[in-house]
Amino acid sequence: MYTIKIFCASCLIGICSQITLAQTTDKVTVNGSSRALFFADDLQQELTEPDTVTAPKENSGHTLVDLGVNIRPLDHIEIQGMVRVRNDFGGFWGSGITFDVRQLYVKGIIADVVRYQLGDIDYVLTPFTMYNQKEYFLQHTPSTFKQFQQTIDYDMFFNDDATRRQQGAAVDFSLLFSDLVQELQFSGMTSRQQPAAAGQNERLFSAANITLIQSKYFAIGYNFSNLYDIAGTSKNTDIFHNPVHTISAKSSIEKENWKIALSGETGASKMWYSENAEAPSLNDYFMEGKVKVSYTPIPITATVQYVSVGPDFRSPGAQTKQVNFDAYPRAYDRITNDQLLRTFDYYDLVRDVALYNMRIESGLMNMDPRYDNITPYGLATPNRQGVQAGLQYADKLDRFTIKAGYLSQTEIRGQGTTLLRSFGRFSSDLTIKPSAFLKQYAKQIVIDVHMHMDQTSRDAEGNVPAVDLQTNVIAGNIAVETFKQLDVLFGMQQISYSGFEFAPLRDEFGQIIYFNPLQTDGSQTLVGGGLQYRFTELISTSAIFSKFSMSEAISELPPYSIGTFAFIFKMDF
């Protein structure tokens, strides 16, 4: 380990010594990011007997530098390497320093036709084949706290375009036509998901797409993804296969003041293990269609989407969750005098990268119905059919935006009963910039409000109780620019849930083997405020005071709160 550190340090010194040289030519450029992050936490528990075991105060944090070197030895070849040097606070004299290769890739163009990338690649296809869906309840984190969540997104390569960071190879090319068809695009990738080991086969993920662009008004594509084992890479004869084939199409119509966009996708999946009689073989399909209508004189957009995803539809590239619900938080992992394991909460999800997953997983990962029982696996959530509609009004002068959405779905096949659950979600968003209304006030004030209400219900049957689970999320944020580039921030988010649901317990193949009753009545509230100074668009620093409160009426864990002073410095270069 020490040798590796010396080697990495030497490399860094070598790289740094060439920066001067590098910056004098466009063949070598330096890029990267750095940050310092510090949390000072204070845990308070509501106990009849004081907790004399758990230390109530915890400090944690780190500084890190991601130092990347981009080399272009030829016009059509680019090499990117990035080393991460991280020092956890408290790790003095080198004991807390780690060196990692954060990313490494080579990309270029062969014969001015075929683009390729080897090493780290970001790839996305469609929401049903390969898509890195962020948890719905985490999509509306107030920007006061979002800067912590963004460090997780950065570390885990969770990008806004829903790409998945993979290690492998990708190619793409296109053919242009002069008549009938405008363009035919081809792309494909293969990445390694797990290496071969004793009793474990090498597992790869492959994806491909062929898109025919007839014109700017119409395109149709074939999409393919497959998570599969390579037979013979270990003694294990259980070979996993999960191919997904889909067809997607989109079209747009513009007539006078109307803009209509149509899109849809349909396809099927098959998941099976060869040589394993106990493993299931699952086949199913899905279909999705969407209509988006805009009327230009009024900046209003309406969307209607129909989705039907079969209960046995399995698409690991689309259904793998970002959050690993089997993980435990690093902060205050055990509390109370009995040192009970603390399950993670919303505040942990905002700031603890250890709760997240990057690898594409087979089957369906565990989920927590309290947070999102309707779309836990994104648009590709199996066993759902129904309609969702949305309406958006965006002020032409960018002073405010209002959104409202409604979802109504049911199961296709019951779980544990022939009765079907029904799902309903109402959501609304408001972004308002009061400063835009005040001509005398030049600085920015931005207010964001989001709320959504989820409802899951199913009738009682005999002695089996009815399912009735409700989740409400309210989030709000105010950012007021005071002095030059100095913002005052205030944000809050509350997640509350109550009711009864059966949480399915799945075996290693994803089959439901039991239902655990889940009676819940709790809420989680994160409130905080602070200051943010923006040096430039790429450099900022913030100091945030916050308080997170958690209570669950039906839990062995007591109600608790965590008061936090957080400091963050971020710089991209």
């Binding site: 349909t266 089959q511 083997i513």
Partner: protein, 334 residues
């Protein structure tokens, strides 16, 4: 072009929708089975309460429950103490899953007797009881060598050492494995492993070799042995001598002698069943190469010997024996 493509995509979607399978009514186990209240929809009934198994009759149990449960039917012979257990997981008891043809799960075998029937559930406190009567116990096809109901076969040739407390006799001191009587082999011999033996020549059954199928895979040797409480040293050795050359005699060392050695460890009656094709040649307790032609030829079985053995330094030893029978096609289902 666009219309055609959309038509094709829509047709594909409709086709997929038509193919959606609804064979599975729901995913996972039934919630009613896990959380529903248990009750009898139909009470327990016995289809034949006076059953003649020897005459080919059978009986079954019927009932219906409000949910799937793990159920167990126990039938106990009130005279013999024999027990038959039928179990399963379902919400219906019917002839398909509860038919009883008179066989035994826990020895001894059933007799003509009254039986207590008990239906219990692993997850429910309910217990239902009833009775039935066995008019005639199940009979078993095969070559019955001995059931000791008519005493000791006069054609058998016993040898008993002059030890202490010797008891080579037909008796009924404890419940027999089958019927009323069994053969008691016991004694203490402090100078030899052998306590006593019985030679059973085929001539005791009226022919020079036993009337068995020539295919050893089809022939099974079955015997019931009983180990009394406190006895830990008894060994019962069965020897099967073949007349390989058909000369009407067994030649030691040149013709096959296969063996079954049973070291008695568990108390009570137990059924020993061996496929004739898997019998081994054993010398001093160790498997060795066959001494004759090496072929398992049950139709050439000339003599069976039963040796009661024990370590001479271990003191008194005893084993009870009952219902020795050759069956064809399968081991004895008592």
């Amino acid at each position: 072009m666009r219309r055609i493509t959309f038509f094709l995509v829509a047709a594909f979607a409709i086709l997929l929708n038509a193919c959606r399978k609804d064979a599975d009514l729901f995913d996972g186990p039934s919630l009613n089975d896990i959380y529903g209240e248990f009750s009898f929809v139909e009470p327990l009934l016995i289809t034949n309460t006076e059953v003649d198994f020897a005459g080919g009759q059978s009986t079954a149990f019927t009932a219906e429950f409000s949910k799937n449960v793990n159920w167990k039917i126990s039938i106990k012979g009130l005279s013999s103490g024999a027990e038959k257990i039928i179990s399963g997981t379902s919400n219906v008891l019917s002839v398909d899953n509860t038919t009883w043809t008179g066989s035994t799960t826990i020895l001894p075998m059933f007799r003509a007797e009254m039986c207590a029937v008990e239906l219990t559930f692993s997850t429910e406190p309910d217990t239902v009881r009833d009775t039935l009567e066995i008019l005639a116990p199940k009979s078993n096809a095969g070559l019955l060598l001995a059931d000791f109901e008519s005493g000791f076969n006069a054609g058998w040739e016993p040898f008993v050492q002059a030890g202490a407390d010797m008891s080579f006799s037909v008796t009924n001191s404890v419940t027999a494995g089958q019927g009323q009587y069994y053969y008691d082999m016991g004694g203490a011999v402090d100078w030899d492993w052998l306590i006593g033996l019985i030679d059973i020549p085929a001539t005791a059954y009226g022919s020079s070799t036993f009337a068995l199928n020539s295919n050893p895979d089809n022939v099974f040797f079955n015997v019931m042995l009983y180990n009394p409480v406190g006895i830990t040293n008894s060994i019962v050795l069965f020897q099967f001598r073949e007349d390989d050359n058909g000369d009407g005699a067994f030649s030691e060392g040149t013709e096959d002698m296969f063996s079954v050695e049973v070291k008695m460890t568990e108390t009570g009656w137990q059924l020993i069943s061996r496929n004739y094709a898997e019998l081994a040649t054993i010398v001093n307790g160790v498997p060795v190469d066959p001494l004759g032609n090496g072929l398992h030829e049950p139709d050439k079985l000339f003599q069976i010997s039963i040796l009661m053995l024990a370590n001479p330094s271990s003191g008194y030893s005893q084993a009870l024996m009952d219902y020795m029978i050759f069956t064809e096609g399968a081991a004895l289902e008592p």
